[in-house]
């Protein structure tokens, strides 16, 4: 090996060692860490040692006690077993005793029964002989209450078997004899109209185990009574003179009498049934009565439909509706329809009353039947079943169906009535002279009339006692508002507001007085404003109507409440339709009455020089010709409308006027050049204008002047750089409505500001 080789290998091994050393260091550190961790754990284990030892000591001490507890427990278990066997023995004896006692009492009962049997047999014979049916029935009832099967068995064992069997057959014979006699006598009593006997025998049926037959017969008997009275009532109704005070609602009255008659019978006879037949039998008892009610009701309703010509009325109204559209206002068609509408009114009233009476009657029946079912029910399930049966019986009835049909007829007619009346009100719209000025603004009769009709119809529907019916009428009313009233107002507004010379008061007066042949445009102006006011008051009326109805209509459940509320909400949302009509009208007004006038007035601004000397300034400031004229003009315009518009519409007008004025003035300012004094004048002018318009309305319009005020401030600056007092961090409470480029544009209007300075501004 050469020395170079050796050196090489040494170097190599050194390099390896270094590598290894590196590894070792890491390993060492790892080990050191582990050691530390182990030490820590050891330490903590040591710490615990003492604690664990203490516990162990405690345990060894307790150990002997366990033995004692174990033996005690065993003893207790033995004791309990012993006691329980003892108890079992004792109670077994008691049980036996109890069985013996109950057998003895059974025996006694049977002996009693046997004795009674004898007694009954004899008694029945005697009382049948003397026609004392009550006593006989009581004996039979006693006999029926016995356990006949057991008695027969007893008879087999007993010695005097013949005796028992004799009594037995005798009583059975007597029972069937009595049954037929009671049936016969009851029928006789019914034929003879002998109420006392009817009731006498009615009471005997349950004693003979003939509950159902008794109820059936009795109810049939009562039904004939109802039929008689109802026949009489209907005859009276049909022969009632048309001049009679109640002629208009005579059929509703007849229905009322029918319902009252049935209710009275139930009232009188329910206690009787309950006493002799027990509770829970009312539904069965009422069966024939309700069937009779169906029959009579059918006849009354048929007469009502015939006499009131409901079908013909509906057809005529429908034809009128189809013929005369909302805007096809043929005078004759309107007249014809008007006649039908007038006839509909009383018929609708009668139908509503009829249904209200039925609703009352139905509630009465339901309450009575439910209470009776409740009393007769043994278990909860039974009660539910009985209540369902009551519901089904009431819903299934012909009466219920017919009244629903009648309600449907009513609703259909009510809808036609409402449509026709509303159309008529709109067609016969007349300017309302009393309302002008006093109540603020020109109005016409249509809106008042329409809302009067709607309220009347909704109230009438509510009086029918049917919430579904009321809701339907409310829904229809909402539809009508949008389809008829809104479209009529919109049609009027669409014709626009004729511009031209403006003297409303004169135009209005001449339209009212009918003299001085008003020009078309004058009349149109008045009508336009009236429509605008109508729209404004209509949306107010809707709110009032909704509130009134919501307060007036009675609801019994939260479910009904939310149903009604939901329908009312639908009605009140028709205001948004009205609002959009109003917006539309205001825009028309703006385009034809405000814009063309304000333009020239404001444009005269440019004819006044705003580069003033001190003298000119003093002279100008004294009378401020431009702004004084403008204010005078604006005042004149507003005065013209103030009388004729509702406060709400007037405020809106001031707002749009302000908008127009500021927009035009802004444009004019941009077309003018200013010096410092000119800027000062502008500032004063803007202030004067703002304070005039603000004082004209209760709404705040100052906001609309923000841009103009800021422009005046800019034009009023001493130096261009002064803007830094208003801009950026020193803005303070001021919010700039002008963009930086607009600010430069405004500043450039000042003839004395150098454009370089303006360009240099950092905005």
């Amino acid at each position: 090996m050469t020395s170079t080789e050796r050196i090489q290998s040494t170097v190599l091994s050194l390099v390896e060692t270094v590598n290894i050393n590196g590894n070792m260091k890491e390993e060492y550190e790892k080990l050191a860490q582990e050691e530390e961790a182990v030490n820590l754990r050891l330490e903590s284990l040591f710490k615990r040692q003492c604690h664990i030892e203490g516990k162990l000591r405690g345990m060894t001490k307790v150990l002997p006690n366990l033995q004692i507890v174990h033996s005690d427990a065993q003893q207790l278990a033995e004791m309990i077993t012993f006691t329980s066997t003892l108890a079992e023995n004792v109670s077994a004896k008691v049980r036996q005793l109890d069985i013996a006692r109950s057998r003895a009492s059974d025996c006694q009962q049977r002996v009693h029964d046997l004795l009674d049997l004898q007694l009954c047999a004899e008694g029945v014979k005697a009382s049948l002989h003397s026609e004392d049916y009550e006593k006989a029935a009581a004996h039979v009832h006693r006999f029926l209450a016995m356990d006949q099967h057991l008695l027969e068995q007893t008879a087999d064992i007993a010695e005097d078997c013949t005796n028992v069997t004799n009594s037995f057959s005798l009583l059975q014979d007597a029972a069937s004899q009595l049954r037929s006699v009671v049936n016969l006598r009851f029928d006789e009593a019914v034929r003879a109209e002998d109420l006392a006997s009817v009731e006498r025998f009615f009471k005997l049926f349950p004693l003979l185990g003939l509950h159902d037959e008794g109820l059936e017969k009795f109810s049939n008997y009562l039904s004939t009574k109802i039929a008689d009275t109802a026949n009489g009532n209907l005859k009276t109704a049909l022969s009632t003179q048309a001049s009679d005070r109640r002629a208009n609602i005579i059929f509703a009255d007849t229905l009322t009498l029918l319902f009252e008659g049935i209710a009275r019978i139930i009232e009188i006879h329910q206690p009787l049934i309950e006493t002799y037949y027990g509770p829970g039998r009312l539904l069965r008892a009422l069966g024939p009565l309700l069937r009779e009610c169906d029959v009579q009701l059918r006849r009354i309703v048929a007469e009502l439909q015939r006499c009131r010509r409901l079908e013909a009325l509906a057809q005529a109204a429908r034809a009128a509706q189809a013929g005369a559209g909302p805007r096809a206002e043929g005078e004759e068609a309107q007249e014809g329809a008007g006649g039908e509408v007038r006839q509909l009114d009383p018929a609708l009233g009668e139908l509503a009353i009829a249904h209200a009476r039925y609703a009352l009657f139905e509630r009465f029946l339901r309450r009575r039947l439910a209470a009776d079912a409740d009393a007769g029910a043994a278990t909860d399930a039974d009660r539910r079943a009985r209540l369902l049966e009551v519901d089904a019986a009431l819903a299934r009835g012909d009466t219920c169906r017919r009244m629903q049909e009648l309600l449907s007829t009513y609703l259909g007619l009510e809808r036609l009535f409402m449509v026709q009346s509303v159309r008529k009100a709109i067609a016969l719209d007349a300017l309302d002279d009393a309302g002008a000025g006093a109540a603020g603004g020109l109005c016409s009769s249509a809106v008042d009339d329409v809302f009067f009709i709607l309220r009347k119809c909704i109230r009438r529907a509510a009086s029918s006692g049917s919430l579904d019916g009321t809701c339907a009428v409310i829904n229809n009313a909402g539809a009508l508002l949008e389809e008829e009233l809104c479209s009529a107002l919109r049609a009027r507004l669409r014709q626009g507001y004729p511009s031209g010379y403006l003297d409303l008061t004169q135009a209005y007066n001449s339209v009212l007085a009918g003299r001085l042949q008003p020009t078309d445009s004058e009349q149109q102006r008045v009508l336009f404003l009236a429509a605008l006011n109508n729209a404004d008051s209509a949306s107010e009326y809707v709110e009032t109507l909704v509130k009134q109805v919501s307060d007036e209509i009675p609801v019994s459940t939260p479910m009904e409440r939310s149903k009604l509320d939901s329908c009312l909400h639908g009605l009140s949302s028709s205001t948004s339709g009205i609002k959009s009509v109003l917006d539309y009208g205001i825009q028309q007004l703006r385009a034809s009455a405000v814009k063309p006038r304000v333009g020239p007035w404001v444009d005269s601004f440019q004819s006044v020089s705003h580069q003033l000397s001190e003298d000119e300034f003093t002279a100008y400031e004294a009378d401020q010709p431009f702004v004084q004229t403008l204010v005078r003009n604006l005042h004149g315009l507003l005065e013209n409308f103030k009388e004729s518009l509702t406060p709400g519409n007037y405020d809106t007008l001031v707002t749009i006027l302000t908008e127009e004025v500021t927009i035009h003035l802004e444009k004019a300012v941009f077309k003018t050049s200013f010096n410092r004094l000119g800027g000062l004048v502008l500032d004063k002018e803007v202030r004067a204008l703002a304070s005039f318009l603000t004082s004209s309305t209760s709404w705040s319009v100052r906001d609309k002047f923000a841009r103009l005020t800021q422009m005046a401030t800019l034009l009023n600056l001493e130096k261009v750089t002064e803007i830094s007092d208003y801009w950026g961090s020193s803005t303070g409470p001021l919010t700039w409505r002008l963009t930086p480029s607009e600010i430069r544009q405004v500043l450039a209007l000042r003839v004395d500001f150098r454009s370089d300075d303006i360009k240099r501004l950092k905005l």
């Binding site: 519901d391 449907s408 007829t409 609703l411 339907a472 829904n475 539809a479 948004s576």
Partner: protein, 203 residues
Amino acid sequence: MEDYKFLFKVVLVGNAGVGKTCLVRRFTQGLFPPGQGATIGVDFMIKTVEIDNEKVKLQIWDTAGQERFRSITQSYYRSAHALILVYDISCQPTFDCLPDWLREIEEYASNKVLRVLVGNKIDREDREIPTHVGEDFAQRHSMYYLETSAKEAENVEKLFMEIAAELMEQARSKELPRYENNSPTINGRTTVIGDSNCCSRMS
């Protein structure tokens, strides 16, 4: 404060006994009440569902199918956002009546109303109207179509959820009344649309 963003009125119509009440009960209460009596007048239920993390309140009006309640039920058409027309797939007459129902809808409902045709009772074995016939009919009258079973809870949830989603889509494009979070008033209405010759809107 009511915590929903949209409120939609859904009205169910169709012949008596096709299962309108059962569909509503199944959706709102998860029940299938057997031996359901005929509905009297209108019933209404409310269920709030969530779509795209938005609370949507569905006001469901369940109407009586019988003729004598027509004058009550018709009054609900106009304000409805969606109308569900239901027939019984195992009962031809209920399908044959559909044109009559459509006529009524034309007459009383808003023309923007969402119309859905539903063939109910697909759990029944005795089907009389094949699916494609119902589908064709719906297509001809530009209605959505779905077959359901209230008894087996099939497609019921889907029916109402899809209606809610569709209505929300429409409302988002501002075609329908929108109920703001804290005020129950309506900002716009279905039936009122700007006039064609209306001048520029007020700012």
